[in-house]
Symmetry: C2
Subunit: 406 residues, 2 copies
């Protein structure tokens, strides 16, 4: 008889964003006609800018003519990878074109990357963390059992008010370390010195860092690292995953990339090179991002594309500022929202995350994301995203202010 | 220290299509200016038809306006899934919209589907078979060691001249069965009666069939099943994977779907329903196919889209007929190529697959695919694809005829 993967039973019963959708749906059933202001899932709302639209149209036109038609593009557009190499070079980072793997987004890559590692690795995750890092390792059998303190085999790195939500290196010896900066959900950004402690730890312990840089284009502070490879030694221990989703509004268009330097090593396979295994994994299990979308990515990285995308980022970062200032006026403590599109709000009093979610849903008609959905240390916090429409964001802030009675 | 997935070492040293590319590249280095005629990898060559191009442009335009902009579309376009439900209904198959999962292609789905099953399942594959079924189960640890007879833990179902390249049900008890029809690489198509033996076997043994129907639109014979669900009982034991790649020239555009009926059960997880696990897998590890591409899919399934795509299929099937007749004239035995876009050619004499590959590459400047790359029973065979340009296909046939001296 066919047997299912038993580790799926180790997952929490509900996927966070499905539960949010369910509760919001129930509210709308009971309150038809009441508009909900959604600052929850982190979905982008602004249209693609002209240079990117033009690039996508040109790509579609190419497919209409025999001379320019293209089929499989598994290995990723050379033009796109060269443009990315150039971007890294601007930050002083030297990469080879075959150290960059084009994909359909940071989520699939951060989900799939664990599959090239043995199930016997010890995994360290930030707490709170983007659920994909946790859930995919649970499904692969690296997690152990779920207790009130989290999964028994994970090493959690608590992100708290005390450490400014940037954790210190693990106290135990671990093999794989997931770090996200600018952080989802806390909106905090690691400094060069903070990342260096992780890189040094990884090189000392022969661990591999999986660095999620999906929000790096939201950094404007020149002193903050936009890629982990700005830290010397990272090229020996770090994989970096990134995305066009938030830089260019590609959440639905789907495009991302993963950097695996050829100098990153691990044991347990003859190949030794992590790059070789990821290459093999992708060649076997993936057929490349859409050729249309890859050309859209080239347009994003063009000079006019970059200028236009920076304007959209500025629009979203203005939302972040409106939320931060507006909620601070109510006396709430608000973290993040500077150099990052997420805000991490401390619920008032000793209120729990889901209670605050229900309060804001029912009283302010605002949908956010309960911090506890990102891990035990997220309890008592609430994530808001800056990716809404500016008018909706202002209305949401005013509505939260009214609900909190100021 | 980080440990790599040791099962990658169980893979054959080289990925079939990479090795073909390598040998073709070497030939071109030594013979600059000699054009190669590529009938190997099965990549489409004809441009997308007008209705589909119009659908893709309209989708891009939608992203340029705030009112029509869309972000995440994880669960798949409702319009697209409804159009697919309608297509199945035309074959007498009744499906629910949430039994259809939209993806970026049949390759990723046939690669990922194994991850929802336990590593302790016994896997049956056709021999020869599309390498993705084999390699992904190797990487997951279901294969055992590679011997001359294949992997020790797999159950092979030999496809030979004697059984018309459609195997009988496994003699041993197995849990997961991969079947592809119309078949890649042999180009043979299973009849209703042949599929029924598998469906009955699976229901009797509580096995799950993973049915790859990526080439089903190449079937014109009204008596041949285009979906496994035409066989009663399949809704209780079969997952069907399909694709727009070969129907609509979407090899580079990327769009496919997987059907998991809610009535398919397996043990080992509380959920029991295979549909629930695949849903969870996709929600956690995938972010949906590109919204642009999904609208292209809707255009493919529109009336004008279907008419235009059928013309392209007829064009490719004319190539298949040209290859079949042309090679049969040389005395070669040619299977497939009717109701399927692949031709399975028996190498002359006792010639081995790679020797025949080298002969055709060096003498006829034709690139095909060695049958042995698809499994031990493929030795002595050679796959040609009908997806080339008509002129190139005719030249390739003439060139093979000249090289075989007729």
């Amino acid at each position: 008889m066919a047997k299912l993967n038993p580790h799926f039973d180790d997952l929490p019963a509900s996927y966070l964003f499905r539960e949010i959708k369910r509760r919001a749906g129930l509210f709308q059933e009971k309150n038809p006609g009441v508009p909900l202001l959604r600052l929850g899932i982190g979905d982008t709302t602004q249209p693609l800018p002209p240079a990117v639209i033009a690039g996508l149209h040109a790509a579609v036109d190419k497919l209409s003519r025999k001379e320019t038609y293209t089929g499989y593009m598994d290995e990723g557009s050379v033009a796109l990878r060269e443009a990315l190499v150039k971007r890294y070079a601007e930050r002083g980072v030297s990469l080879d074109i075959d150290e960059i793997f084009i994909s359909d987004g940071a989520k699939p890559d951060s989900a799939n990357i664990q599959s090239i590692f043995s199930v016997h690795n010890t995994v360290a995750v930030q707490d709170p963390a983007y659920p994909v890092y946790v859930d995919t390792n649970v499904m692969a059998g690296r997690a152990g059992k779920l207790t009130k303190k989290g999964y028994s085999r994970f090493v959690y790195m608590p992100c708290t008010e005390e450490n400014g939500f940037i954790p210190d290196i693990p106290k135990k010896k671990v093999d794989l370390i997931y770090i996200c900066s600018p952080n989802n959900p806390t909106g905090m950004v690691a400094t060069h010195a903070q990342l260096k402690r992780f890189v040094d730890y990884a090189n000392r312990n022969k661990a591999v860092i999986i660095f999620d840089a999906a929000y790096s284009t939201y950094i404007t502070d020149p002193d903050l690292p936009r890629t982990i490879y700005e830290v010397p030694g990272a090229e020996k221990c770090a994989i970096e995953i990134s995305s066009f989703s938030k830089e260019a509004g590609f959440t639905g268009v789907r495009l991302g990339w993963t950097v695996v330097p050829k100098t990153v090593r691990a044991e347990g396979s003859k190949a030794g090179k992590v790059n070789a295994l990821w290459n093999r994994r992708q060649a076997t299990m993936f057929n490349g991002a859409s050729n249309i979308v890859q050309e859209g990515g080239v347009a994003v990285l063009s000079e006019p594309g970059q200028k236009e995308c920076r304007e959209i980022i500025a629009y979203y970062m203005n939302n972040a500022s409106v939320i931060k200032k507006g909620l601070e006026k109510t006396g709430l403590k608000v973290y993040g929202g500077v150099n990052a599109p997420f805000l991490w709000v401390k619920a008032p009093g000793k209120m729990k995350s889901w209670d605050f979610f229900d309060k804001l849903l029912n009283e302010a008609h605002v949908v956010g994301t309960p911090g506890s959905g990102f891990g035990p240390c997220g309890e008592g916090y609430f994530r808001l995203s800056a990716f809404g429409d500016a008018g909706d964001t202002q209305r949401a802030v005013a509505s939260i202010q009214a609900s909190l009675k100021i």
